[in-house]
């Protein structure tokens, strides 16, 4: 199915008809090219490597908690990147940003990768220690926790529920927002994938009532996802990191963790967008405007990353309380100093120095490079936090009694890390061939609302925003 008509970009404004957009996106979704097959094969292989790595760790026979540190870091990283990505589409929709319309699905599609995160999370929840050393232990021996007067297994129960809720909400949001596009794809394409899409959107007729109900559902699910996102970051960062380090009582840490998630959400979408533009041929949908706008948000979030980190660090450092100083030494200035410096450079300094220049922001390569560095920095940072926290043998008490040395990755640890990334990539690529990766209905909306008009002898972009 070849067509010569396809939408195009003129001075940052998408040109074409509704039919052009549908034809183009349906054609790209139904075609499976050689490069796609190669990348999918590679992601399968990486996932396999990860599974082997996990089995090697699980069957070494040791009940040492520290062996799960890298898996905890991997799950933390996926919460920060893949499961955070839908926040970009939620944010763009809530402020009715027209530039964000074509990339909404790119972001939302990551919600489905939550299924992979859930799988990786299961061994962790088994390895996480209870809040009390044993059932007869007095309250005073309670591990420092957000679940002060709760059941000793509260983190296990409620963190699992939080993750499950977020994944279900994300998938529901993805399915509901993509119904019109799946109906379009199902009607215009042939084959097994098209019939799955058609079945998923069976009841869709595009009536006014259906559109209204769908918009309300998207609004509701978006709000739920946002709250779920904050809750999960709060719980996971507290229970799977802070609570395992005696003396680490840091109320800004969950916020910083979630903020880092928002920064990585932009970075994840940016890198995906760059790949789709560069190798997927989606040049008409992802122009400089998308990179520029998302780049600005990424710059602001990088500055906030520094602000939140600094406020936490400075309060501890200035206070000079021995228990807090020990935490700083352990996570920032001694054992994990190098990892912290790398994360600091990649999550703050490098994006700042790249994105501060408007010329660089108004390119496709500059913001994409900054995004890639942020993603690498976030991985290093999650390793610093979670591997460090899980390496502490005795989590009870009010301050760190002894500081274990920095734990270098073993071969199975490295396999788990690459496996996690492979798993997410694999799920994303498979689903992208059933649900169109470009949000067609929103792109068509963009065609309606954005145009070029003359004003005082110059051409400007006229952007409509309905109530």
């Amino acid at each position: 199915m070849k067509t010569t008509i396809s939408p195009s970009l003129h001075d940052g404004v998408l040109q074409g008809t509704f039919g052009d957009v549908s034809r183009d996106v349906v054609q790209r979704t139904s075609t499976i090219g050689g490069l796609y097959k190669k990348v999918l094969g590679a992601s399968f292989a990486l996932t396999g490597v990860g599974v082997v790595g996990f089995l090697l760790i699980a069957f070494t026979g040791s009940d040492d908690r520290s062996q799960w540190g890298y898996l905890a870091a991997m799950v933390g990283y996926l919460l920060t990147t893949a499961l955070a990505a839908p926040m970009v589409s939620i944010a763009c929709r809530s402020v009715r940003a027209n530039w964000g319309k074509p990339l909404a699905r790119v972001a939302e599609l990551y919600a489905i990768t939550g299924l992979g995160v859930l799988l990786a999370y299961v061994p962790l929840v088994v390895a996480l220690p209870a809040l009390y050393p044993n059932s007869d232990a007095p309250r005073e021996s309670l591990r420092h926790t957000i679940w002060v007067f709760w059941h000793p297994h509260a983190p296990h129960i409620y963190d699992s529920l939080a993750l499950l809720t977020l994944v279900i909400t994300g998938i529901a949001l993805l399915l509901i927002s993509s119904i019109p596009d799946m109906a379009d794809f199902g009607a215009k394409a042939t084959g097994k994938r098209a019939s799955i899409a058609a079945r998923l959107s069976k009841s869709w007729r595009g009536t006014q009532k259906q559109w209204k109900a769908r918009r309300a559902a998207i609004g509701l699910l978006s709000g739920l996802y946002f709250m779920g996102f904050l809750t999960l970051h709060y719980q996971y960062s507290s229970d799977f990191a802070m609570s395992l380090v005696p003396g680490w009582k840091d109320s800004i840490f969950p916020v910083w963790h979630a903020l880092s998630g928002l920064q990585c959400a932009c970075a994840t979408v940016m890198v995906t967008m760059y790949a789709l533009r560069r190798w997927g041929g989606y040049t008409a949908y992802f122009g400089v405007n998308q990179f520029w706008s998302l780049g600005k948000i990424m710059l602001a979030l990088s500055l906030l990353w520094f602000y939140f980190w600094f406020m936490g660090f400075f309060t501890f450092w200035y206070g000079r309380i021995p228990a807090e100083m020990a935490v700083l030494e352990f996570l920032f200035t001694e054992q994990y100093r190098i990892l912290f410096l790398v994360a600091f450079i990649l999550n703050f300094l490098a994006p700042l120095l790249i994105l501060v220049w408007n010329k660089v922001r108004r390119s496709t390569g500059g913001p994409a490079l900054a995004a890639l560095l942020i993603l690498i920095g976030a991985l290093v940072d999650r390793i610093r936090i979670y591997v460090g926290s899980w390496s502490i043998e005795d989590s009870f008490g009010h301050s760190l009694k002894e500081m274990p040395p920095a734990q270098l990755p073993t071969i199975p640890d490295a396999m788990v890390i690459v496996g996690g990334i492979g798993l997410v990539l694999m799920i994303y690529m498979i689903v992208a061939k059933v649900i169109p990766i470009i949000s067609m209905w929103e792109t068509k909306e963009q065609l309606l609302y954005v145009s070029h008009r003359s004003l005082l002898k110059k051409k400007y972009m006229l952007i409509g925003k309905p109530d």
């Binding site: 591990r143 406020m311 501890f316």
Partner: protein, 458 residues
């Protein structure tokens, strides 16, 4: 998005400069009422300075009471200016236009008032000199520059200077309009203030660039000011409930919550006083209401974290403090009042479009927020100090005296009076901004519907 209505340059000039060239009676009535409040404030402060701090409720171990609470509150209110002016300018939010100048002016007057509070709090204002001079010349004992209490006035003064500059740069084109309409000495004054503005394209270009640059430069100051104010508390490790890492962003977001609410209240007052129905429209309040709902919820999230990490790990002294805040009277009642007025009443109300577009309900809800936010600061400061700490040896309950209450109430009159007197000399809605907004307004036709639109430079 606002609905497109064209007023024309002449009408805009006439409407927005009307108060400068001749005020209505109700304007003077309100000013007179506020001046009485300011008079009471001056009398109470004078009495306290002459008599001594013994006329206040401050005593061991609670030496920070109403005055310091009020100081934090007014610094908070000052955050509205940058939020509405700089941030919304950078994000090109069209609906910001009528609110920016009023927000900036509220910022300037609330910063003045905030700076006044620690001076009054000293009881002997002349002693403020020791902030930058040695308090023992012979032994050359200088103030400790590593103390957050020294950083604080520095940050506030920097913010005040930048805010004044920000207001002035934005005022220049409007000053030239007043100059062209004035005669005599008034013309002379406005000629000097408008710095030779002729409205050439180069001047406009420079003015726009200065606005954007100042917006970007003032942002770090905006964030740092309330962060440094929060350091007054979070760096004090001996007081339970204060040494917590979230305080800086918690204070900043709380400041935006109360500041933007205060600006909404002031805008509604201005609309009523100057009959600015064509400029401050339900559309603007609607947008501000949405912004407030988001900011308020973010603030509540930070509050929840601050509270939850207070009881993190069940440390006995922290639990005791939270128990005092929640269950002993009058703190418990205040805590409930703070939660209801600061969040649970206004934010759910703002979810309704009809509330966001109603002058009455927006007045009630935004005043409610500021009652809540004042109580929040009070509940942070006093119960923490009241409890016996490592370096204090007595317990005491703090209750403010009539002098303190008068001074605090007087500051509200002072800020409002300052804003209204400013409106007598300068337009509180930027003329050129409104005119620019009219030029940039457009419409997009979608089927049979007309959708409001705006021109954007790429």
């Amino acid at each position: 998005m606002q609905e497109a209505t064209k007023l024309g340059d002449k009408k805009i000039n006439d409407d927005l400069l009307a108060n400068i060239f001749g005020s209505e009676r109700r304007y003077w009535l309100v000013c007179g009422f506020l001046a009485m409040g300011v008079g009471a404030f001056a009398l109470a402060a004078g009495y306290m300075i002459v008599t001594g701090l013994g006329v206040t409720g401050l005593n061991r171990p609670v030496f920070w009471g109403f005055f310091i609470t009020n100081f934090v509150f007014w610094v908070g209110i000052s955050h509205a200016g940058v939020m509405l002016s700089a941030i919304l300018r950078l994000t090109k939010a069209e609906w910001r236009r009528p609110a920016t100048r009023a927000a900036e002016i509220v910022t300037v007057f609330s910063l003045f008032t905030a700076l006044m509070m620690p001076v009054i709090h000293t009881g002997r204002p002349w002693r403020i000199i020791y902030w930058f001079l040695p308090y023992d010349f012979q032994r050359m004992i200088w103030p400790n520059i590593r103390s957050a209490l020294v950083w604080d006035p520095t940050a506030i003064n920097t913010y005040l200077t930048c805010s004044i500059l920000f207001v002035f740069v934005a005022l220049i084109p409007d000053l030239a309009v007043i100059r062209d309409r004035s005669t005599g000495i008034r013309r002379l004054i406005y000629s000097g203030l408008s710095l030779g503005w002729r409205g050439t394209s180069q001047q406009w270009k420079l003015q726009m660039m200065a606005g954007v640059l100042l917006s970007a430069l003032i942002l770090p100051i905006f964030v740092s000011v309330h962060s440094i104010v929060s350091f007054d508390f979070s760096m004090a490790i001996s007081v339970k409930g204060w040494h917590t890492t979230i305080f800086a962003p918690y204070f900043v977001i709380g400041a935006v919550h109360s500041g933007v609410s205060a600006v909404v209240t002031v805008l509604i007052l201005l609309r009523f006083l100057f009959r600015w129905e064509d400029y401050i429209k339900p559309d603007h309040l609607d947008a501000l209401g949405k912004l407030l709902a988001v900011v308020g919820t973010a603030w509540f999230f930070f509050f929840a974290l601050e509270f939850l990490y207070g009881i993190y790990g069940a440390e006995p002294d922290e639990i005791a403090l939270r128990t005092t805040q929640l269950f002993s009277m009058p703190w418990g009642a205040m805590f409930i009042a703070f939660l209801i007025t600061g969040y649970f009443f206004p934010v759910p109300m703002w979810l309704f479009r009809s509330v966001r577009r109603s002058m009455f309900w927006m007045t009630i809800t935004t005043i409610s927020v500021n009652i809540g936010m004042w109580l929040e600061r009070f509940l942070i400061i006093v119960p923490g100090l009241m409890r016996k700490q490592d370096l204090s040896f007595v317990w005491n309950v703090y209750s403010p005296s009539i002098v303190e209450i008068t001074i605090v109430l007087g500051t509200f009159c002072l800020v409002l009076l300052g804003v209204l007197l400013f409106a007598k000399a300068f337009p509180l809605i930027p003329l050129y901004d409104i005119k620019e907004g009219e030029v940039l307004q457009g419409e997009v036709t979608v089927g049979r519907a007309k959708v409001p639109a705006a021109f954007h430079e790429e």
